[in-house]
């Protein structure tokens, strides 16, 4: 029952612990934008053209399964419930834009959840490959293999000078967006995070807090850094540039954590244990509260203050505490805010006791 697992478990191997630079880097992602020749891009295509793209993509699915070495689940957005769609967004397997009109929007998701191919998002194909920790090479390798396979069977829009042709000119050329998810509590607490995002911009990289609603500050100290330019550089150059920036940020983050430990050890230790205490025993928790406390707990685990729970609780709670995930588990999209908050607190308590070490 692979689909039940997709919507009803927090299992997302590319968020697991134990990756390279895993104390700071959560996961790596490669996205390739590809289009078929002559068929209008999804924003200008009619239903019959969208259906044609869908059929073309489906025709290469068996080959893709062979390339990835595992079966894919196919989710049709038109048939998925609104809550199921939201869960896929919460798991970063599809984008918000993908759901704007669900007709002929399908996504292929590998059994291991590290490959997701959106059909008829902004481009005909959006190939995404994820890996835990800092491992852009493995993801690029997989994405490239899938791309080669698609291109061997179907006519992909390509121009000698402009490269792979995409719906938005900002993706033109390689069609590649490489991104890395970082946990940066040290840089946030030492107020260095703005410097990092300013410097990154000068290197052609963009940094954004991924959990931020409306105009609020980012929550959970989780940031995504990605390349902005796609044309004029090779895939390896883009990935190499991002990789070296990430390594630099990671060493800055570690330095910040050391500084915190040196100057504010007692306060820090108190703060991470308090966060743990609230998550462990609270009866009502909001989404934002969980993220902020969870970040502290993870910091406490990574710095060796908290030893009674494993870092694996992080991704379990990160996914398991999202509102749509909880509502979908309860099978009820009309839960009141406090009902959701109560269920969230219970889920978090359960997850922490599941991951207890002693």
């Amino acid at each position: 029952m692979a689909l039940a697992d997709l919507f009803g478990s927090t299992n997302l191997p590319w968020l697991d612990i134990g990756g390279r630079e895993g104390d700071v880097v959560l996961s790596s992602r490669i996205r390739l934008a590809r289009n078929f020749r002559e068929i209008p891009f999804p924003n200008r295509a009619d239903f019959s053209q969208l259906a044609k793209v869908q059929a073309m993509a489906a025709s290469v699915l068996p080959d893709l399964e062979r390339a990835a070495g595992q079966p894919f689940d196919l989710v049709d957005m038109d048939k998925a419930t609104p809550l199921e769609r939201e869960v896929l967004i919460e798991k970063s397997l599809v984008t918000r834009n993908f759901l704007r009109s669900p007709q002929h929007r399908v996504v292929f998701i590998s059994e291991g959840r590290h490959v997701s191919i959106m059909v008829n998002e902004e481009d005909h194909l959006r190939i995404q490959c994820m890996a835990k920790g800092l491992d852009l090479d493995a993801s690029l390798d997989m994405a490239s293999r899938i791309d080669d396979l698609v291109e061997s069977k179907l006519d992909v829009a390509f121009d000698e000078k402009m490269g792979y042709l995409t719906s938005c000119p900002t993706n033109l050329g390689t069609g590649l967006r490489a991104s890395v998810l970082l946990h940066l509590p040290g840089l946030v607490y030492t107020r260095n995070i703005n410097n990092i995002s300013n410097i990154s911009q000068q290197l052609g990289l963009s940094v954004r807090a991924i959990y931020s609603e409306n105009d609020q500050e980012g929550q959970g100290n989780i940031f995504q850094i990605s390349n902005q330019l796609t044309l004029g550089f090779s895939e390896e150059e883009i990935v190499g540039n991002l990789k070296s920036a990430v390594k630099e940020i990671a060493s800055n983050e570690r330095r910040a954590r050391k500084a915190l430990e040196l100057y504010r050890k007692d306060q820090l230790e108190d703060s991470v244990w308090r966060a743990y205490g609230i998550l462990r025993y609270a009866r009502f928790l909001s989404e934002k509260e969980v993220l902020d406390l969870l970040s502290k707990v993870r910091l406490g685990i990574d710095m060796g203050f908290i030893d009674e729970v494993g870092a694996a609780c992080f991704s379990d709670i990160l996914i398991g505490s999202r509102t749509s995930y909880l509502q979908n588990m309860a099978g009820n999209e009309n839960m009141s805010g406090s009902e959701v908050d109560r269920m969230r607190a219970a889920t978090v308590r359960h997850s922490l006791s599941k991951h207890r070490v002693k």
């Binding site: 200008r44 829009a157 402009m162 938005c168 033109l172 330019l229 004029g232």
Partner: protein, 182 residues
């Protein structure tokens, strides 16, 4: 007068804030005022989406050559029917053929967005066999020059031989395809 916020430094800056709670006046030192500056700037920044911004960039790109009004406004992609004006409004291209149709208008814009208008990454194997070889030759040439500059002549000779082999192959392919698509 001391700063209303920190109460430590001399206040040099007077700000008036009009918000949901009415009018507020404060005397601040430079340090505290700087904080206000970023918060005001940040909230303005966030209200603007990337799409809006790009639309602005794209349309300003065309203003520069508005000396010939209507010329490329009439240009319509034969494949999907998108006009250049549509692109203005949405910031999105219609289909792969559009890139050919509007090549002239798009190139300066790409240089503006990416700092380059020439692709130097991956090339599809099937449709771009010869292209791939040309690209490889180009890379090898660059390596060759670099090797010569570094006075690594053995390496340079290797590159040169490899270039010769590829050029021969390319010649064969293009000879066979002389009546082909390009």
């Amino acid at each position: 007068m001391l700063c209303d916020e920190c109460g430590k430094n001399e206040a040099h800056i007077h700000i008036v804030q009009i918000g949901p709670n009415g009018r507020m006046e404060k005397n601040l030192c430079e340090e505290c005022a700087a904080g206000y500056g970023t918060s005001m700037f940040a909230s303005q920044q966030k209200s603007m989406s990337v799409d809006d911004f790009l639309k602005g960039v794209f349309s300003s790109a065309s203003e520069t050559d508005s000396a010939a009004p209507g010329r490329h406004h009439e240009l319509v992609c034969p494949n999907c029917g998108m006009s250049y004006q549509d692109f203005h409004d949405t910031g999105k291209i219609g289909c792969s053929v559009c890139y050919d149709t509007f090549r002239q208008q798009l190139e300066p814009l790409l240089r503006r967005v990416h700092g380059s208008s020439v692709h130097s990454g991956k090339i599809p194997h099937r449709s771009g066999g010869a292209l791939e070889m040309k690209h490889e030759i180009e890379v090898l040439r660059r390596n060759l020059q670099e090797a010569v500059r570094q006075e690594e002549y053995e390496k340079a000779a290797e590159y040169r031989d490899r270039i010769r082999v590829l050029e021969k192959e390319l010649g064969k392919q293009e000879g066979g395809l002389s009546n082909g698509s390009r």
